[in-house]
Symmetry: C2
Subunit: 191 residues, 2 copies
DNA sequence: AAGATTATGTAGATCGGTCTAGAGAGGAAT
DNA sequence: ATTCCTCTCTAGACCGATCTACATAATCTT
């Protein structure tokens, strides 16, 4: 019966991922996670003996891998880094609006909450962000930027995306994303 | 003695401001705010009959005005928008590191937490961000950008600052801020 | 004296976490 | 093939702590 157990575990991670993205670490109660996942309390501490920290940590890691996959797909279809970033940005904006501004960056809220207070989750958040920089830098190098410039641009583009999501969610409007998108197009348009 | 009452009120706002910036809305308990402020529970509900939401809302507004003042001072001394933004960024980075990454943007954490869940605080966060855009756009116009471009650049610069702070706090490192700062210098350096 | 402010105490809910009991599937032995 | 055992997983009660909010009384200021 390893199958059913894994399904419960996956449902718990998925529920935690959604709730944590919308309301943050402290704003998400385990009771709500259990209700959304439709799982009893015992299952949670069976699958995640490390408790809330372990559950949220694995939920963040899963969200990070999901973005990796999306970026990987876009890299295969987008002709240049410019199209890659713009497609990524538009996809994030659509997702955010469709969720009633409950979705943005799945890591950012927790990252800010735990930066100075939780030594287990903070490095996980930091690691996800550095992991996202690599494919961006690769795409930029493929477009002719030298290594140092590609790294710097990758961080800058990632910061722009994160910042645009913050402003968009704060104002419940996709306009900031569209405005920064136009600027990114110019930033990456002419090499 | 209206003075002593006002001092207690100010201490409560200041304590809430610091704690909320470090740990977010849900991560900050009123008991902790009261302990830091050295105030009894009754004072809180006397000065803030609206409870936690009112206290945090006024704390955010105070933080917003504080940044307004800093930007105003920098505008008076910085020769161009480029120097203004770079000085602002460096000041934020210093403040963040000095606080052990407990400080970043005083609004961002709450903005993400409440974007889809709290109809009282969400517009306050959104309003603070739009308020910050104005002096930036003014400085950009003073440097020769036309109005539409200045608005777009102001949002982009603000997004870059916010995103850089997210990445820096997530990784407990000021390097992302320095990297984006170099890119901002190039972005605003040559008109 | 009167109003403003402080000082506690407490209510009711919810928090994360732990515990024990039992349900259910797969394998081994006969 | 059936019985039985074992182990994974589920189920839910329960714990102490903490949360926000409110009530009431004491204190201070004018």
């Amino acid at each position: 019966m390893a199958v059913k157990g894994d399904e419960t575990r996956a449902r718990l991670i998925e529920a935690a991922r959604t709730l944590v993205e919308a309301k943050g670490y402290h704003g998400t109660g385990l009771n709500e996670v259990l209700a959304v996942a439709g799982a009893p309390r015992g299952s949670l501490y069976h699958h995640f003996p490390g408790g809330k920290d372990q559950l949220v940590g694995e939920a963040l890691a899963a969200a990070g891998r999901e973005v990796d996959g999306i970026v990987g797909e876009l890299t295969a279809t987008a002709p240049t880094s410019r199209e890659l970033v713009l497609a990524l940005l538009e996809g994030l904006a659509d997702r955010m609006v469709a969720a009633g501004y409950a979705k943005g960056c799945p890591v950012a809220t927790v990252a800010l909450e735990v930066a100075s207070t939780n030594d287990h989750l903070q490095p996980i958040c930091g690691g996800i962000y550095t992991g996202w920089q690599r494919p961006l830098a690769d795409a930029l190098r493929a477009d002719g930027h030298d290594a140092a410039e590609a790294d710097e641009l990758a961080v800058t583009v990632l910061a722009l995306i994160e910042g645009a999501l913050v402003l968009a969610r704060a104002g419940r409007s996709r306009i900031p994303i569209e405005q920064t998108g136009r600027r990114i197009a110019k930033l990456l348009g002419t090499d």
